[in-house]
């Protein structure tokens, strides 16, 4: 049996009330008004960090050494060259003997990556393939896309053992349908007229692939428990349901008013949410839309309860939120508003790529070492044990800190050191099981930081060296989510 072994979603903590966007730039085109809020990546998050966060969620309780491939599906990867999937694989501590690939260029890249993963599993080439998907798409200030697009990620582990949702079939169509596009080097999405997208895109392709899927799998619409498909136009979303004879109970309501349209990971986020609420025997159809569409059908197995384990549900991330207090902050986080950094903020020391290579497990994977003689975990990795009165030489074994919880030993909120969102909050983390080091803190406000607060580690963007075109990544401490 092949299918979904595990899954996990990730929604960044920040939300912006669309009223704030509208107040700032709504004057340009009053028709852009939208209700609700959308998820906004923090200044130190991007598609890659969110994809890793979703991957961490998905891999909870899974043996990482058993993963044979990582596919990263994303239309907004930080690197055009230097494989994003491989950076994620190192961060996720997957073994080096894996296949890694970036799937990009269309919003259906996620479902396509998933089907490619499935093919490899079915062929017996691989036992287990992780598909991470994330996007941080940008609309121009004052555009409807700016209101619609939200940031998020989700990951799905495909495999043939301990399957929680069995693959029943798929149906794909591929068209050069230019509802929207973005040329190389451009950061903003452009799109054609809404009516064209609605009448020729969603209402045709979504229907086409779901009907094709039903025929392929030999089932009718009423035999499917939940149907996930996108349509940014509310009336037409319902029209598609009517055309396909899908009832309200079968529909998975899009999270447009809560997190926005997240792009490539959107079908996965909704699939994860449907799986969170599913029971064995449920059948879930999911559509990835873009340059045509993919439709995939799964049936939930008896393993679903067990697989949820300690994983956080999508609903958990929906509730764990904080309102961004200004539109300008949102666009400055995305580097769309040239903010004064000061001379101090402009001085970024060069990144030694050879040093990064040598220390990749420590920097990207947050590996330290543990002394075999005394058992003390330590970060960064040491040759000589740091424990007083031990000092054993070369008795170290690699020790992963990225999945360890910790408590805040001490901290400060620094207004002198440069930070995109001052103050720069950092502190010393004492890890459960031993080990101590100092880390930036993120997703916190200074007034809520307390000595001894529980923390966990999150893969984040540490710096952007615009001159050298380098996105630097490391781990920061965030408040532990219950």
């Amino acid at each position: 049996m092949e299918g979904i072994v595990s899954y996990g979603g990730y929604i960044p903590r920040l939300r912006i009330d669309r009223k704030l966007i509208y107040q700032a730039v709504g004057w340009l085109n009053p028709a852009t008004f939208m209700k609700g809020e959308k998820a906004v990546a923090n200044f130190d998050e991007d598609s890659l960090t969110m994809g890793v966060a979703a991957g961490i969620e998905c891999l909870k309780g899974v043996d990482r050494a058993g993963v044979d491939a990582l596919y990263f599906a994303c239309t907004t990867p930080p690197y055009a060259e230097r494989q994003n999937a491989e950076i994620a694989a190192t961060a996720l501590d997957l073994k080096s003997r894996i296949r890694s690939a970036d799937f990009t260029g269309t919003l259906k890249a996620g479902t396509t990556a998933l089907l490619s993963a499935l093919d490899a599993v079915k062929a017996g080439t691989m036992n287990s393939v992780l598909v991470c998907s994330a996007d941080q798409r940008m609309g121009k200030p004052g555009s409807a896309q700016e209101e619609i697009f939200g940031d998020g990620a989700a990951a799905i582990l495909m495999g043939s053992e301990n399957v929680t949702a069995q693959f029943l079939g798929s149906f794909s169509v591929s068209y050069d349908f230019s509802d929207h596009w973005r040329s190389s080097g451009s950061i903003f999405d452009r799109q054609w007229e809404d009516r064209f997208i609605r009448d020729v895109g969603y209402t045709k392709f979504v229907v086409e692939v779901l009907q094709g899927l039903a025929i392929e799998c030999g089932i009718s619409a009423d035999q499917i428990t939940k149907v996930i498909y996108p349509c940014l136009y509310a009336a037409d979303f319902k029209k598609i349901a009517r055309t396909l004879k899908i009832s309200d109970q079968q529909i998975v309501e899009p999270l447009l008013g809560q997190i926005g349209f997240t792009g490539t990971p959107d079908p996965f986020i909704h699939l994860a949410m449907a799986l969170d609420q599913s029971k064995p025997g449920d059948r879930i159809a999911v559509v990835g839309f873009g340059a045509g569409a993919d439709a995939v059908l799964f049936e939930v197995t008896e393993n679903i309860e067990k697989s949820r384990g300690s994983r956080r549900s999508v609903g958990h991330y929906l509730e764990n939120k904080r309102q961004l207090d200004g539109y300008e902050k949102m666009i400055s986080f995305r580097n769309l508003l040239p903010m004064e950094k000061g001379i101090r903020g402009e001085s970024i020391p060069p990144t030694a790529m050879s040093a990064l290579w040598r220390n990749r497990d420590q920097v990207l994977g947050l590996y330290g070492s543990q002394c075999r003689a005394c058992g003390t975990p330590q970060f960064p990795a040491q040759r000589i044990c740091v424990k007083p009165n031990c000092g054993a030489v070369d008795q170290m074994v690699p020790y992963r800190f990225s999945d360890k919880k910790g408590t805040l030993f001490t901290f400060t909120g620094d207004y002198l050191a440069f930070c995109t969102n001052p103050p720069s909050i950092y502190g010393v983390v004492d890890f459960e099981g031993g080990g101590r080091y100092q880390f930036d803190l993120t997703d916190v406000e200074l007034e809520n930081v307390k000595v001894s607060m529980p923390l966990e580690m999150s893969f984040r963007k540490k710096y952007l060296d615009e001159r050298a075109g380098i996105h630097g990544y490391f781990w920061k401490a965030v408040p532990a989510m219950s």
């Binding site: 001379i343 001085s347 970024i348 424990k387 400060t412 207004y415």
Partner: protein, 398 residues
């Protein structure tokens, strides 16, 4: 059996520039100013020097690397010159080099000079640390500043001793106010305005819980010492100052990477103090030390130093602060010249500037800051952060 350094070397001449934002002065000007004063004070000539030690920390924005900036500027006659750097303890490190060289018998007279030109960065505070800590650290260390690194010690100190931020900040404010009082009496000090405890408490935040007046001045300056064999010192002047101990202790890494350290003291300082007192033959520092210049880069650094140096009991330094124990008219005046806080902190010069004040006080030449009959002066100079650092100490007396 090692004998230690006590009474083997004497200081016979010192010089110190005015510290401050010396926009008109380059590092060469600062070097010449400090050197000429020291030379004149010692009553010797350049040709009498056997060797020299040059301390500068931020060479990339100041003097440039190597010992050459000192030798080229002073036109030293092909002397053996060594450049040292140990972050903010660089000045004391230069002095230690010169003192040890004389004590070894290799030279009769040596020069130690520290100079720093900090005000060519274009911004307040010290230069960015990220680029200074090596290629690996810049990939993993937080984007931290000096005040932030020390603020974390204040956070922990407050937490450990159950002080509310207001209670803790008030103690720290009294420390800064005291140093401003002393600095106002010092014509060479960078900051010469008295401030109230209330002003310190209400100052803009720099790195929580430290505000603007919890931070020392970032200054340009230079200071110099000329040292010689103890047995020849009186041939130069009647009041040489003798070195009783010079010690340095460097972090082992356990503070940052092992979980024993409580972050409300500086581990290397406790080790350094024990060694320094032993070398100087001091049993009870609270009774025997006459005055101190400690490393008050931030108010919390000074508070913790009182305890690390065993002047105050752990967690009780605040009581001594409240009692005025460290005021100019107190039992052990601390920072009589204004300290880093007000005299200023040109990194490479600071350790020698501390010694300059002890030297002048012991000789009774400290003007309106003069302490009555001091016997032993202590300097405590710290490089790095509380979590990983080095502490350099000197004890001197008549």
């Amino acid at each position: 059996m090692a004998e230690g350094i006590k009474d083997k070397v004497a200081i016979i001449g010192m010089g110190c520039t005015k510290f401050g934002e010396r926009w008109e002065a380059g590092v060469e000007d600062l070097i010449v100013e400090a050197f000429m004063e020291a030379l004149e004070d010692a009553g010797i000539e350049k040709k009498d020097l056997g060797a020299a030690w040059f301390g500068s920390c931020y060479d990339e924005i100041g003097s440039g690397k190597t010992a050459m900036p000192l030798s080229l500027t002073l036109k030293l006659p092909f002397l053996p010159v060594t450049r040292v750097e140990n972050y903010c303890a660089t000045g004391t490190e230069a002095l230690r080099g010169a003192v040890y060289a004389v004590a070894s018998g290799a030279y009769d007279i040596c020069l130690a000079l520290g100079a720093e030109k900090l005000k060519d960065t274009g911004f307040g505070g010290l230069p960015e640390f990220a680029g200074q800590l090596g290629t690996k650290n810049r990939l993993i260390l937080p984007t931290l500043s000096a005040p932030g690194g020390f603020a974390m010690m204040a956070t922990r100190y407050f937490s450990k001793y159950g002080l509310s931020p207001e209670e803790g900040k008030e103690i720290l404010a009294m420390i800064s106010a005291k140093s401003h009082q002393n600095g106002s009496k010092n014509p060479k000090a960078h900051l010469r305005r008295e401030i109230s405890v209330d002003q310190v408490m209400k100052a803009p935040m720099v790195a929580w819980p430290l505000g603007l007046f919890d931070c020392c001045g970032v200054s340009d300056g230079a200071a110099a010492a000329i040292v010689c064999r103890a047995d020849m010192a009186k041939s130069f002047r009647p009041d040489p100052v003798y070195v009783k101990s010079m010690q340095i202790a460097v972090s082992s890494g356990e503070e940052m990477m092992y979980t024993d350290w409580d972050a409300s003291h500086v581990q290397s300082a406790t080790v350094c103090a024990a060694r320094a007192y032993e070398e100087a033959g001091i049993k009870n520092p609270r009774e025997e030390i006459s005055m101190m210049e400690v490393h008050d880069c931030f108010s919390i650094t000074e508070l913790v130093a009182y305890e690390d140096l065993r002047i105050s009991e752990r967690g009780k330094a605040g009581n001594d602060v409240r009692d005025g124990f460290f005021n100019l008219d107190g039992r052990i005046p601390c920072q009589p010249d204004g300290g880093l806080k007000c005299f200023g902190h040109p990194i490479g010069a600071s350790g020698l500037r501390m010694m300059y004040e002890m030297y002048k006080q012991l000789q009774g030449k400290a003007g309106e800051r003069q302490i009555a009959d001091p016997r032993l002066g202590l300097t405590h100079n710290m490089g790095g952060f509380p979590s990983m650092n080095l502490i350099s100490m000197a004890i001197v007396g008549l």
